[in-house]
């Protein structure tokens, strides 16, 4: 059991580290889109690592399968949420041009079409 415990310890710590960094980024990044990056993605990998860390402790395979489902649904739904919010911000024209080095669409910074 020692090896499994070590794996769990490392993965749980790494996962919570990523989640913490994601939260920190959300607090400290300058605008909506950059915050969205921090809110949706280090958090996703954090959750995956936490789940992977829990799996060795869960015992029978039947207890592990719901963890796999959680991971799958996180991977399916996280991009949808992120794209919905980012798309809404882009179309509403509320993206701050000061945070962009370049805008090839020439539209995101304006007031929309």
């Amino acid at each position: 059991m020692r090896a499994a415990d070590a794996v769990t310890a490392v993965l749980l710590l790494a996962g919570s580290g990523f989640c913490a960094v994601g939260a920190l980024g959300m607090l400290r990044f300058p605008d909506l889109l950059t915050r969205l990056h921090a809110a949706t993605k280090p958090q996703t990998i954090g959750l995956l690592l936490v789940l992977a860390g829990v799996a060795p402790q869960a015992g029978p395979v039947t207890a592990v399968t719901p963890l796999a489902l959680v991971a799958v649904f996180q991977l399916i739904t996280a991009p949808v949420t992120a794209q919905a919010i980012a798309g809404a911000a882009y179309r509403a024209g509320v993206i701050d041009p000061a945070t962009l080095t370049l805008d090839e669409s020439g539209r995101g910074s304006g007031a929309g079409p």
Binding site: G22, G25, R28, H37, I45, Y90, E104, G108
Partner: protein, 183 residues
């Protein structure tokens, strides 16, 4: 395959996936659970008519495994990059909105590409112009034109890998017509 057969196959695939989720939620497979699952899936089918997901013509497992591995690696590396920016001078981080012309004509590949883009720290889909096959992507951190170009190359690379792994009928058609020429 005729369109009708294809739609039926894809609905059956959806039903199988629902049944798999049902079994995973129970965590064990018994006769009662299986029958209950089939009944539930049948009811869901009757109520929603389950969407016909576009089907694949061919899957290349080694290429798919490679795409998965590269995705996991990208996810890890760029999580670290974003994390470093969150800790170190976050106010000065700059992004960019870049346009990428999609090569694929398949909605399924675009779905896979956009999901992969949006899951990966550093890129986020903000708009999709399907008429012109244009993806608008917000990328961070981007400080110069060179970095924007390398992000674009990364997205195109993801698309190329996914197209190699998953062959769809739309893209197979495209390859025949354009004699494999890049556009």
């Amino acid at each position: 395959m005729t369109p009708a057969v294809r739609a039926a196959v894809s609905r059956l695939g959806m039903a199988a996936w629902l049944l798999a989720v049902w079994l995973l939620l129970w965590g064990r497979a018994g006769a009662q659970i299986l029958i209950g699952g089939v009944v539930i899936v049948a009811i869901v089918y009757l109520v929603t008519r389950l969407p016909a997901v576009p089907t694949l013509k061919r899957v290349r497992p080694p290429a798919l495994a490679l795409a998965g591995l590269e995705f996991a690696w990208d996810l890890l590396v760029s999580s670290v990059v974003i994390g470093r920016h969150a800790l170190h001078r976050p106010r000065q981080v700059r992004g960019a909105i870049i346009e990428v012309s999609a090569r694929t004509r398949s909605e399924l590949i675009v779905l896979a590409v956009t999901a992969s883009i949006s899951l990966r720290p550093g890129t986020l889909l903000v708009d999709l112009d399907w008429e012109r096959h244009l993806l608008r992507i917000h990328a961070m951190p981007v400080r110069s034109q060179d970095e924007a170009d390398s992000t674009r190359d990364g997205v195109l690379g993801t698309e190329r890998r996914l197209m190699r792994a998953l062959v769809t009928s739309e893209d197979a058609l495209e390859e025949d017509e354009s004699t494999g020429e890049d556009r």
